[in-house]
Symmetry: C2
Amino acid sequence: MKEVAELLKAKGLKVTPQRIAIFHMLCNTVEHPSAETIYKSLQETHPTMSLATVYKTLDALKKAELVQELNVGEDSFRYDAKVHSHPHLICLSCNHVYDLHTDLLQDLREKVAQDTDFELFSEKIYFYGICPECQKK
Amino acid sequence: MKEVAELLKAKGLKVTPQRIAIFHMLCNTVEHPSAETIYKSLQETHPTMSLATVYKTLDALKKAELVQELNVGEDSFRYDAKVHSHPHLICLSCNHVYDLHTDLLQDLREKVAQDTDFELFSEKIYFYGICPECQKK
DNA sequence: ATAAATGCAAAACCTTTGCACGCCT
DNA sequence: AGGCGTGCAAAGGTTTTGCATTTAT
């Protein structure tokens, strides 16, 4: 909890209870929640926090590169506090989003940059399918 | 033009001037336009066509697997008539979206499936950077 | 003390929907 | 003739914005 506040301060962000709550939640989940989901799950502990604050905070965290925004193809964005570039797996049955930690994509950005003459900064990689759990059903 | 109508009919879609115009445009551009962009660029030739028809048509084409929907991180979707799975390059300076035809990602889906026990159907891969043109400026 | 963050409401924006009319088969 | 597509307007959902108040530094 403490370190969450430190991270915010280190990025020059004002440390508020709302920001701590949102960032702390994102750091301790594997769920890749949307703004709405974050808002609802913090209702119990922070009943006065507004949805607008969630959006504003996510924007601040995004600009500070403390979270990344995901576009899995739903109508809203999802957020991930693991900012290191990594692919995501989306289960089309249960709609869960999983992190994929792999070295399969090692050097990929560099190779693509060489192929295309682009100067590349980042990539977003999404795989769509059925997760092991849902395959059993 | 003719073949566009054939493709629609082959998928069991009713062939209308609006559908031909939209699909024809998507087949003959490299721009990855949004619904709004499609609508505007067809205003001259099809002034009575509504934006709702563009959306409904894109939905039909998507379901028929004649176009794919892209999520590059903007607030609206873009569309691509090249439905074969391929990565996209987004220039953060001029906002153009480029197709990347490469074999760098050969076997990638299969390897990820093996690593994760997912049953995979598709993937979306986006690289972000600065295109060669914009680097010169 | 100052500047910034919050909360509320309203607005903006993209997309979808309902329905009457017209067109394709 | 029947069903589907179109066009219009309205609604829906997500995200942004303006502004007065509160809070962090």
